[in-house]
């Protein structure tokens, strides 16, 4: 009963994916069942990168510089400063049966943000590192002093990791918006659906 023809599946998938793009985002919302991040003592900065358990209380600073408040981030947004979203994104898996349903839900982020998935993990492949370096070089026109703001979800170490990694590449004006997409949305910052940068 549940083996509709591949053609039909493909057609329906197409229709649904178009419909889904305009549907309410199935976004991950703010923590309601755990204490708000402000109520948890912020941990100190760490050596190197956070390797796992990324969604957890984060430090107040990145390399000693305090995370941006919403007002600060919003002001930078109005100046058209580069915003970089590092939410990870699993593509349709290699090896998944061609007729298996795979839903790539739209990711709604800060308007105009560039989405560079996977670059905020604790350890990244040489391929991902190359992708990150190339993307930053392109987005900054090779200007190491260009301002950039990293974010992902609220209280997520991936944005902290990515920002720190960008500094290790030599970028000198790296900022961090720790409240992430949730903080931006709650403050009614402009948002739009984004797709990963190539």
């Amino acid at each position: 009963m549940t083996a509709p023809s591949r053609l039909r599946l493909a057609i329906v998938a197409l229709i649904v994916s178009v419909a889904a793009a305009s549907a309410a985002p199935a976004e991950i919302a703010a923590p309601a069942e755990i204490a708000a991040p402000a109520e948890i003592a912020a941990p100190a900065e760490i050596e190197g990168y956070r390797l796992d358990a990324y969604q957890a209380p984060v430090p107040e600073t990145l390399m000693g510089r305090p995370a941006l408040s919403f007002a600060e981030a919003r002001a930078l947004f109005e100046e058209n400063i580069l915003f970089i979203d590092v939410l990870p994104h699993a593509p349709r898996p290699e090896g998944l049966a061609p007729d298996a349903v795979w839903l790539d839900k739209p990711h709604i982020s800060i308007k105009g943000a560039h989405w560079l998935p996977e670059v905020g993990r604790g350890e990244i492949s040489a391929e991902t590192e190359g992708y990150f370096k190339r993307a930053l070089a392109r987005l900054t026109d090779g200007d190491l002093a260009r301002k950039m703001v990293f974010f992902c979800k609220r209280a997520c170490w991936m944005s902290w990791n990515a920002a720190k990694r960008a500094q290790s590449f030599g970028y000198t004006h790296v900022l961090w918006f720790a409240d992430g997409v949730e903080g931006w949305r709650e403050a009614d910052g402009p948002m739009e659906t984004v797709t990963p940068d190539p």
Partner: protein
Amino acid sequence: MPTRRLLLQCALWAPMAARAQTADSEETWKGLKPMFFGDRSIDEAPGYVTLDAPVRAEDAALVPVDVKFLSREKGDRVIAATVIVDENPSPLVTTVTRGRIDPGDFDLSLRLRVNSYSYVRVIAETESGALHMVKAFVKAAGGCSAPASKDPEEARANAGQMRFRSFAAQSRAEAQAMIRHPNYSGMQMDQITRMYTPAWYVTSVRVLQGDEELFSMKNGISLSEDPTIRFSYAANGKPVRIEAKDSQGGEFSQSFASDGGVL
């Protein structure tokens, strides 16, 4: 590694708000339903199938669910059931089809992956072709991307090994089939290469008693590592045969004595 698992559950994109969780899942289901069932109508009439799932799962990569095909005095018995997790990027867990339709209950338990807070739903199809649904909301996250519990070489070396166990000695008319297989979802990071491990999973399972098929399954990537299925079973002296195929063309089978012993 229970500690690591626990950390990961906290780590991965857990939708943590009470707000609109179930509404989001229902919205997703609206989009999914036509992909699996076209324009066929699905109701939530009781008396056909039940679903038992934890409200909050300890391990999002191993969420136990029990599906019961209910006995039907007035006929129109359930012949198949599709298990779906709305919020998994690949939502199909399995479609289970009974090989033999007898008047009694038929229970089936399995373990599945839950990627973010979601309804798990079971859509039962009856002899007349009607569809009846039950659902349960499960709070678990990260189950599709949680690292495998075994290293890749060990998993590959043992893939396709099977176990069969009867619980008759515990006075329960049940048995359990276990198939060793990493059942990679394709969403798990390889701990060495730091790339996504390609999907490699058990796509079909058949369990036979003698020549008679008890049930069969068509699976997606949302079934847990080492697929383990517990099902209603009454030994009748005939051997039990488990057959499985995987997404890389692997074919596995093994026969067991009626009471679960080695043949």
